[in-house]
């Protein structure tokens, strides 16, 4: 996507948004409420048309919604409508539209999520419906899978199951884009991370680049302001992000702290990653 401009009425949301997605990754799309995560996903899937800029999704211009693009793209929105049919009817109706749909995998995902396949779809709870659609989307084997707030409405065991199932469905030919504001639900799953804020992509990087360049850790005392890039008071101490020295061990990435830090100091992270390597 290059120089994308999009506005609701006269209020611009994106002015010159640029974004490149590499296949074979599970991207995490993060942003504060109203940042434009859902809008961006709809632009990618061709449901909203930017007023300016160029975009190419799977080799197609998404605004044409070419059937060949659509059969290789599954988009699970945050709010969805399901017809009054049984789960089996839904699968037999919609699966033919996705040439790579794997029925066995679908049954396996449903089993893993505990979805009852004998019920009317409208009789399922919101969480069950979401797990059903997740199973369908994963089994569709589309090259691009877009999930908008997929863990909203899922219970705690289902959230861990979600991470396991999504990870198991990933292949090098597929790309998942998962939008969320509940980063804890996505830990150990999403990588790279895309952060959008104020109408622009302010961060788009794999986590190893973060680990190579920064350390993130819990410290008991508040550090000197100049010694850290970002500090945040949390129960039990302070989460601190510093530039990593070459002799220091890499630390695991706390997504919530990282996200807050990126939104607070986007330029610092961009510069840090552009310079590359540990300091």
């Amino acid at each position: 996507m290059r120089d994308i401009r999009f506005q609701y009425g006269k209020q611009p949301l994106f002015t010159h948004l640029n974004l490149t997605i590499q296949k074979g990754n599970i991207y995490g799309l993060l942003g504060v409420n109203g940042a434009g995560k859902t809008t961006l996903l709809k632009i990618i899937s061709g449901q909203l048309f930017p007023s300016e800029g160029e975009s190419s999704v799977l080799g197609f211009n998404p605004i044409n919604r070419d059937p060949h693009m659509l059969e290789d793209l599954f988009h699970l929105p945050e709010e969805f409508f399901l017809p009054r049919v049984t789960t089996q009817e839904y699968v037999s109706t919609y699966a033919p539209f996705y040439p790579k749909f794997d029925r066995e995998a679908f049954n396996r995902y449903c089993e893993e999520f505990g979805v009852d396949q004998k019920q009317q779809l409208t009789a399922l709870s919101f969480g069950q419906k979401k797990k059903f659609l997740l199973s369908f989307g994963l089994a569709s084997n589309t090259a691009l899978l877009i999930l908008d707030e997929p863990t909203n409405g899922l219970d705690i065991p289902s959230k861990s199951q979600f991470r396991r199932t999504v990870a198991s469905a990933m292949t090098e030919d597929r790309t998942f884009i998962i939008s969320t504001h509940q980063v804890r639900d996505m830990e150990n799953l999403i990588d790279p991370i895309i952060v959008i804020d104020s109408g622009d992509v302010i961060f788009n990087s794999p986590l190893y680049a973060i680990s190579e360049n920064f350390t993130i850790g819990l410290e008991s005392a508040q550090p000197e302001p100049e010694s850290a890039i970002y500090t945040e008071k949390v129960p039990g101490g302070w989460m601190v992000i510093r530039n990593r020295a070459s002799h220091e061990d890499e630390t695991s990435v706390d997504l919530e702290t990282l996200f807050n830090a990126i939104v607070a100091h986007p330029q610092h992270f961009r510069n840090g990653l552009e310079q590359g390597g540990a300091q």
Partner: protein
């Protein structure tokens, strides 16, 4: 193949509503027939109203078909939650439109005709069993039924356009629009007649206006041409125009304000 899949999807998703609709029709026919049979048996030799099926058929064909057509795009094109499925369905815009249009234009009258034929067989068999009535079965293979279906196909195109054009209250708005359009056309026609046939008028309202046989024979070719223009307009231009405009409207809605 995609088109068939879309048609199948439309039918499966609407099967419950279609079943209720069909059941309602059968029950109405059954009640009417049984009431008729009961009265005849009680009163004696009363002349039987053999047009019951035909009257009901005409009502359900036109009114039912127009209403069914009017709501065909409501969920998919104009509902916030339904739009996502419609837009993301891996089929071309034309396939999606054609599936809905063909189901309401061709599928509906054929299914209704078959339903009436089968229902009349069952109902008449029951009536014979309970009331020993002479059998009068709905015959779908008549010229009259064929002509009704053709008229339905031509006029239904207006409601297809209304279904795609209006965002809400599709049926009512289409009827009102047609009413206004009819009034305008009537007024223009009256004006045209007043000007074109000025010598045959006496006063502005044409109080003594008479199209005598002499006039008709003098302008026979003109009247024949006008009649054929009417036929072509009704049977070809109007349906094709409505179908094409409805498709363009679907395209426009998807491109401009599908999801907001």
């Amino acid at each position: 193949m995609k088109l068939l899949n879309v048609i199948r999807k439309e039918l499966i998703e609407r099967k419950k509503n279609l079943f209720i609709y069909a059941l309602t029709i059968v029950l109405i026919l059954l009640l009417q027939e049984f009431a008729d049979a009961f009265i005849r048996k009680a009163v004696g030799n009363v002349i039987r109203n053999e047009t019951t099926y035909l009257n009901n058929y005409s009502i359900f064909l036109f009114l039912g078909g127009f209403i069914t057509t009017s709501v065909m795009f409501a969920q998919d094109m104009f509902s916030r939650t339904g739009q996502h499925n419609w837009l993301m369905l891996p089929a071309s815009r034309f396939d999606k439109f054609l599936a809905k249009a063909s189901l309401t234009t061709v599928g509906y009258p054929l299914a209704l005709t078959a339903l009436f034929a089968v229902a009349s067989l069952l109902i008449e068999a029951l009536a014979l069993l309970f009331f020993q009535n002479p059998i009068h079965i709905f015959n779908p293979f008549t010229q009259h039924i064929g002509l009704l279906i053709l008229h339905y196909m031509a006029t239904q195109s207006l409601f297809l356009l209304g279904a795609a054009y209006f965002r809400k209250a599709h049926f009512v708005k289409t009827v009102l629009s047609l009413l206004i359009l009819s009034l305008v056309i009537t007024a223009l026609s009256a004006l045209f007649v007043r000007i074109a046939f000025a010598p045959y008028n006496n006063g502005f309202y044409g109080y003594h206006f008479v199209l005598d046989q002499n006039l008709l024979s003098q302008h026979e070719t003109l009247f024949t041409i006008a009649k054929w223009f009417g036929y072509i307009g009704y049977w070809v231009i109007m349906p094709v125009f409505c179908w094409f405009t409805a498709y363009l409207r679907v395209k426009e809605v998807e491109a401009t304000d599908a999801i907001q």
